[in-house]
Amino acid sequence: MKPMRTLAAAALFLLSQSPPTPSQTVAIRGGRILTMAGPEIEDGLILIENGRITEIGPAREVPWDATVIDAKGRVVMPAFVIAHSQGGVDTANESQENVPFVSVRDSLDASSTYFENCLRDGIGTVMVIPGHRTLIGGTGLVVKPFGRTVAAMTVVDDAGMKISIAAERGSRMSQIQKLRRAFDEILEYLRREKAKAESAPEKEDEPGFLSDLDLDAFEIEPRKGPMSRLLSGKLRAYIWCPDASDVIRANALIEAYRLDATLVVGHGAWKAADALARAGRPVILDQELEAFETDRRTGKEVLRVLPAILHGKGVRFALTTGSGSYGSRYPWYQAAVAVRHGVPRDVALRAVTQVPAEILGLGDRIGTLEKGKDGTLIVLSDDPLSGRAFVERMVIEGVPVYDRSKDAKLRSLLTGEALP
């Protein structure tokens, strides 16, 4: 995690170079605050100084030099966090299947409308990572949807390695075999490099030799860098598991190679809910939350709702968003679908804030509104689950980055009139 922190600090520095705030203190006054860390606060006040929350509680007099955002009659909550997305890149997948050395960093388009929509939809932090269609797809990037360059947007560089258990071509057994071979090659390489660095003979079996391996101590080929970090537990794997059997195999791989991993599960994974519960790690759900399964013999179509099933088994999950003009595109909509089928409101809202923040290793900074955390929040016109709420304002690390009253594109959508 150490290099990530350094990079995050660098990114923060870059941000402080970008748009100057009118004042160092921002006050969000009035409004109902959903802190995601405790009870709601009616008519609350949040003070943000130098990007961090310094006060959160009932309303009181605001410092004279603060920039005030009036949230009276509105709802204030942490900006949404999406832990797995393919937005803002031209192509989600490399055409070759084993490309651990590529990074989303090199394909992200800072001017993509995806990020503009993130602001409009209240998404304050998003991990953009290669899609599902490769074997080892490359590394992702945690960004905020604000800034003119990829560097200015970056929160965590090389934030995770995308791995797919399901084969796009060929069979599942060859997919697993190829994964093992790729892992074993790197392990062998690291053993050899270590032996070289220590001028000691290569040892065949060294249990745990990776955990205390200092990768900085010897020179790693650039092509092998990300995989070396993955196999020494310094880079998290995001493993795509569309079906239940993929979950079982992914868990076996994680154990065998001692990976730090988060599963990204598709709808078919509902049958593996018990295995997910036993593993104890929070999972990321694909966009499709409700799906009808057809029994070929009876013709019966049965609705399965993945978040409801997982919640019933005690599995914690993060929700992700899709594309399109409405529906799964919105984090609040995804949370509402979960609530529709019996997931408690608090669990559903945490699944688009606190849980994804925790998965991304940013739980100490974002996902809840607490003293000391980043001043990254949204002001909504209505309750997030009402289906009628619009994002009025978004603040990222104390910088007001979105104001609905100045959003000409949204106004044009609402009025049906063409943009000037």
Binding site: K300, L303, G327
Partner: protein
């Protein structure tokens, strides 16, 4: 739903078995509900819908419930007429591409011959509260054929037909010409044909209508073919024409066909289909009394492309279209068309409300307006005496994204009921 409600409804269904009529034809069913949206006679709080022989007998607050009536207690739910999907491709093997190949004008083809009750997706439609739907042949032909209004339930393998030959499918969008090559030599695919341009599409329609009219004239003589008699009925305004279109220019082409001296097909009863640009011509549509069937709202999950043509490269839909049309006096309905989303029409209504359509109008578009457009408002779309007992009970306000379908009834029979409020793992 209260526990008692769940139990009594579950008991009823378990006693009678799924798909069985709740009562004999003469039997009486009473649905008690916290809020009843009749759509035509105002809402009723804590009322009862009384059903006899599959038809609604009465709706009211203090109705006496006859002895021996089966009671379904829907607790604090919202009860409303079953939703109307004003255009679906579910139930068709090839979805929106269900077209007879070889000719671009096939008015006499009937989609009803292809619909079957156990086709994939129809049950999912019902489970999302849809009890009436319209289906038409696909959109690959300029004149596709005859559509049908039906209830998505199994009646001896077929669906329950509500209205045969309800409308004639015409497509003026890019679908009929997309990918076509001029026919040369032996035709090897659907695409070896004309038209190859949009002007060709309009011409194919014009020439078919002219041919039908001319041959029907005094010099025509011969008995009209079936294809021609279908077109004639459309020309005389006896058969609704459901026109798939996208751009303003395509809508203006329709007006031209109705207005220009050399065409004067002024009696065409036009309903626009999809028409994401319709709000630009709202006043004109209102003046001509043309209704619009909007949708789908296009939010298929990423990575799973909806089959066929994506209209967003023609016109980007505006979420305000529904509101603007209704405000200017145009009747609207929603449709799922080729969408993979089973709750498509409901989602569309929810989107329209978020973008300014009044909740009352959104609910009307889902029920009574859609039934009106499809010509079946005397049977479905409202809860009033004499109408078919097709209803849906939601757990809360149907327009909230957190509300779910608890129970669906068609012709007085419970066809779907949620499993104790939680999907079975």
């Amino acid at each position: 739903m209260s526990l008692r409600g769940i139990l009594s409804a579950a008991l009823l269904v378990s006693l009678l078995g799924e798909g069985m009529p709740a009562q004999d034809q003469g039997g009486v069913v009473a649905v008690r509900c916290g809020r009843i949206l009749t759509m035509t006679q105002g809402p009723v709080e804590n009322g009862v819908v009384l059903i006899r022989g599959g038809k609604i007998e009465a709706v009211g607050r203090d109705l006496p419930i006859p002895d021996g009536a089966a009671i379904i207690d829907a607790g604090d739910g919202f009860c409303m007429p079953g939703l109307v999907d004003a255009g679906t491709a579910r139930g068709l093997d090839r979805g929106e591409r269900e077209n007879e190949e070889g000719l671009e004008v096939t008015p006499e083809i009937r989609v009803a011959d292809a619909l079957h009750a156990r086709a994939g997706g129809l049950s999912a439609l019902v489970q999302n509260g849809v009890t009436t739907a319209f289906a038409a042949p696909g959109v690959q032909n300029v004149v596709g054929g005859l559509g049908v209004v039906f209830k998505p339930v199994d009646r001896s393998g077929s669906v329950a037909v509500l209205r045969e030959d309800a409308a004639l499918r015409v497509t003026l969008g890019p679908e009929p010409s997309r990918g076509n090559r001029p026919p040369m030599g032996e035709a090897t695919s659907l695409f070896s044909r004309r038209p190859t341009t949009r002007m060709g599409v309009i011409w194919a329609l014009r020439s078919a209508l002219h041919a039908a009219r001319e041959r029907a004239g005094p010099r025509g003589g011969a008995a009209p073919t079936e294809a021609r008699s279908v077109l004639l009925r459309a020309l005389e305004g006896d058969l609704q024409v459901r026109i798939r279109c996208y751009r303003e220019a395509e809508m203006r082409a329709i007006f031209n066909l109705m207005d220009r001296p050399e065409d004067r097909f002024e009696d065409l009863q036009v309903v626009l289909d999809r028409a994401p640009d319709a709000h630009r011509l709202a006043d004109e549509l209102a003046r001509r009394g043309i209704s619009v069937v909007l949708g789908p709202v296009a939010h298929a999950p990423e990575g799973r492309r909806s089959a066929g043509f994506d209209p967003s490269d023609v016109v980007v839909p505006t979420p305000a279209t529904a509101r603007i049309l209704v405000e200017r006096g145009v009747r609207i309905a929603f449709q799922s068309a080729g969408s993979a989303t089973p709750d498509e029409v409901l989602v569309h209504a929810r989107e329209a409300v978020r973008f300014g359509l009044s909740p009352e109008e959104a609910l009307r578009a889902l029920t009574v307006s859609a039934a009106g457009i499809l010509g079946v408002a005397d049977r479905v779309g409202s809860l009033e005496p004499g109408r078919d007992a097709d209803l849906v009970v939601f757990s809360g306000d149907p327009l909230l994204p957190t509300s779910r379908v608890r129970l669906v009834m068609i012709d007085g029979t419970v066809v779907f009921e949620e499993n104790g409020g939680r999907p079975t793992p």
